[in-house]
Symmetry: C2
Subunit: 501 residues, 2 copies
């Protein structure tokens, strides 16, 4: 449990006893599963970012919409905060429980309600796994495009909450670009439909506002997503570089050539060696950097694009370019990339994964900056990331058992995110702010901008009971952060952060 | 002037004299052009929907950001409403002035600040014309995709305010999908940056919330848009049908075949005859409906798609399919479509253009429903619209000089929009709500949903001074609408509506 983090700064403050809330909810919801014993609560103490933990006061596992509605109304009446959780694979602590709050788990809402092949949409409950949508759509030749690394396990409701990304988001967009309608319940238990089955909905775009709002505005109870036709073919090129900045510049050059690859990923030497050692993907271990560029679409088009990309890569200084000869080799090339995080994890007792996003033109400069910062802090940093999106995932290697090393890693991570902001980028690309980056929000945004965020939050949740302490910092939290930062003692989790997505 | 429309129901109520506000603003902003004489105000009395008119109290034509900031602060202090206007080509009365408000005209903010071919973005001021962006990007082989019919004249700031669409939005998205960052000023004169140059921005998606907010949340002062590479080639097919429902079903079948055309437009017999009579586009005047299907991309791909679409059209019962033989014929096919509104206008003293959007699968049913409703009301309705998007533009023909005919037209229009809502659609696709459809918002949304919209509005604009009476109805307005509707006397503009976009 993260004792340095003072929950009193976040609203939704402690006030009710567990026994009191339990009795109230048991009476109002006699049929609903409510967990309250410590051993039952333990599995829910963190999401995928296990460094940030707390036992929830209670865990609620509703099965019907009416139960969710009643639960929200009761929590509102009692002034008890509610944290909503999907599959718990998030990487920013967005679904971390509150010790004085109810954890609302939507895993029982796991039905695919409708696949409409003509409209190319799927209507699903929030607990449905991301990959299950594509599986259900597959008989119609369709799939759901956004593909977080955790897609086998993560839930679509969590994807909406975090505006999740993935390898294919460069071409096919983030979650927000692939959701057309959601049903939600407000903290008042009021039902709303945001978006529509039609092209556009009148009024403000509350659907986009909800997507990525990290459970702070309401509870998503049903989701309609777009489905896309499966590409006829996909081919992958692997280019080696003797200089990481050249690889960074090649990324911009590919896009500038008018090509949007299905995926465009970069790995630096440390990541290449780690992945090769772990997977044996056939990566060039002497290269300073590789780019993996996947092109998908109809056969003729893809062949054309492969030629164009090859020329761009050569001109950008690639020392070697290989095209996967068949599906097996293509899968192998990707296996190296997809297992790069655990592969790097094997090289070091601990690692810390960042998620900054920058304009593509700044890739070379920021990669160099990260290298310089790593040297200055005496820590190794592996880079493996969605280069086409400018979505960096620097992995800082450290050993939490070495005194002071975790603090150095955390400070280095903060410096890297600040570098991203400096060049016009942002502190998160696809993992969300959650609890992890709540302080960096005070850096990213002005006090006036944060006030507007909070006003938007209060428009939906006047008492700030939905997931307080995540995503949008309170003024009190930013003040405390600035004080401790100027005193050279930023608040830190007591355990080392880790991350595997 | 629209006398039936009681502005007292909308907030931002009358209170200050023109002379008082003028004196205050002249003192605070000695260098800024302020128009106040009736003859100077007259050109600003309406936007593209000329049925809704009012003289503004004052027109402000600032040239600098500082002037806009000061103006907003002064209006806030005085409690004077502000309506922001771009080029004034909107079709829903969104920029209609208020007699007790300042009209803030951004036409002098007309500079293209930066074209970045590598990032494929353009950074522009809000008064820049839509087409001027594509012209400036053209030397780099790039263009800005959303293309309202008014693109030669409409401003990008207005496009953002209305979330404008166009023929190519089926494939390339609405304005919201093509804007990555905006700079805004709040009514408090506070500066905010929404979105970023990077893939994603943390916190709530206020950029999407602002897009389409019709000037109710703040003033957009700078816009960064995505640019796309110009397609290598574009080809257009024209398919004839002897039955409008078959044409409607063909639309869904094309999309279901895995093809997203660059444009997919439908015209019914009345529209075909009108356009052919006006333009001589070579349209089949005996057909009950035609589809125009444009395919764009690389040559080989487009040829493949043309073959696929041909097969789908034949199977859907097309009686004839022609492919434009060259660029000249392609331009001619489109000229008929693009001039269909004025062409229909030649057939009737007046017409009223609707903008409902429906799920594609409901096209055939809704087209039949519109036909039945037209017969029941004894009025002709021409259909010419973005079929691929499900974005209908029924044009109701009438003669305002015939007693009662306008009222019948307006009632028919309302019935058509209600039909769109019934089948899961919405009351607007690309023209916005503005003043025109403010009452239909009371039909589209529940009181709880409207309360949430208004709470979001107040988060940005607590005194509701920004464009009151547009887009989001007040509870008072919906109550009045329900009362007058149940009394069989919906509030109506005194002049006949017309529309040319």
């Amino acid at each position: 449990m993260n004792t340095h983090f003072d929950e009193r700064l976040d609203g939704g403050q402690p006030g009710r006893d567990q026994s009191e809330v339990l009795a109230d909810l048991q009476q109002a919801l006699p049929g609903m599963t409510l967990l309250h014993r410590e051993e039952d609560l333990r599995p829910f103490e963190c999401d995928g970012l296990s460094a940030y933990r707390a036992l929830p006061m209670l865990v609620a596992l509703p099965e019907t919409l009416e139960q969710v509605e009643t639960l929200l109304k009761r929590c509102r009446a009692l002034g008890v905060p509610v944290v909503t959780r999907g599959a718990g694979t998030g990487l920013s602590g967005g679904a971390m429980p509150l010790s004085h709050g109810v954890l609302l788990v939507l895993s029982r809402f796991n039905r695919i309600l409708e696949i409409d092949p003509e409209a190319r949409t799927a209507r699903v409950q929030p607990g449905v796994r991301n990959l299950a949508i594509s599986e259900a759509a597959s008989p119609y030749g369709l799939y759901y495009a956004p593909d977080p690394s955790s897609q086998i396990a993560c839930s679509i409701g969590g994807n909406v909450a975090e505006n999740a990304g993935g390898v294919h988001c460069l071409k096919y967009g983030l979650t927000v670009h692939n959701v057309i309608k959601v049903e939600v319940l407000t903290i008042e238990g009021e039902h709303m439909t945001l978006g529509s089955d039609a092209l556009d909905a009148p009024g403000f775009d509350l659907l986009a506002l909800f997507t990525g709002s990290e459970g702070m505005l309401g509870v998503v109870t049903e989701i309609t997503v777009k489905l896309l036709p499966k590409p006829e073919t996909a081919k992958v090129l692997m280019a080696s570089f003797d200089d990481i900045e050249k690889a960074g510049n090649a990324v911009g050059a590919i896009i500038a050539a008018g090509i949007i690859p299905g995926g465009l990923e970069m790995m630096d030497n440390l990541a290449i060696r780690a992945a090769e050692d772990f997977i044996g993907a056939g990566y060039p271990v002497e290269a300073e950097a590789i780019l993996l560029c996947e092109l998908d679409g109809v056969e003729a088009d893809v062949d054309d694009d492969c030629q164009t990309v090859r020329r761009v890569l050569e001109k950008a200084g690639a020392t070697d370019i290989q095209q996967a000869r068949d599906e097996a080799e293509r899968a192998l090339f990707w296996a190296g990339r997809k297992n790069a995080f655990p592969a790097v994890g094997r090289m070091s007792p601990d690692y810390y994964c960042m998620d900054g996003t920058i304009p593509r033109r700044e890739l070379a400069r920021v990669l160099k900056g990260i290298g310089d910062l790593g040297e200055a802090y005496g820590l190794r940093v592996a880079n493996v990331f969605h280069a086409g999106d400018g979505n960096m995932h620097p992995l800082i290697l450290f050993d939490a058992n070495q005194p002071g090393e975790f603090e150095r890693a955390e400070e280095l991570g903060g410096r890297i995110l600040e570098l991203c902001v400096e060049v016009g980028g942002t502190i998160t690309g696809e993992h969300g702010v959650g609890r992890e980056k709540i302080h960096q929000m005070c850096v990213q945004f002005s006090p006036g901008e944060l006030t507007t965020f909070r006003a938007a939050k209060r428009a939906f949740d006047p008492d700030e009971l939905l997931n307080p302490g995540k995503n949008i910092p309170t003024p009190a939290r930013c003040s405390e952060f600035r004080l401790t930062k100027s005193a050279g003692d930023a608040p830190a989790p007591t355990r080392a952060p880790e991350s595997q997505g």
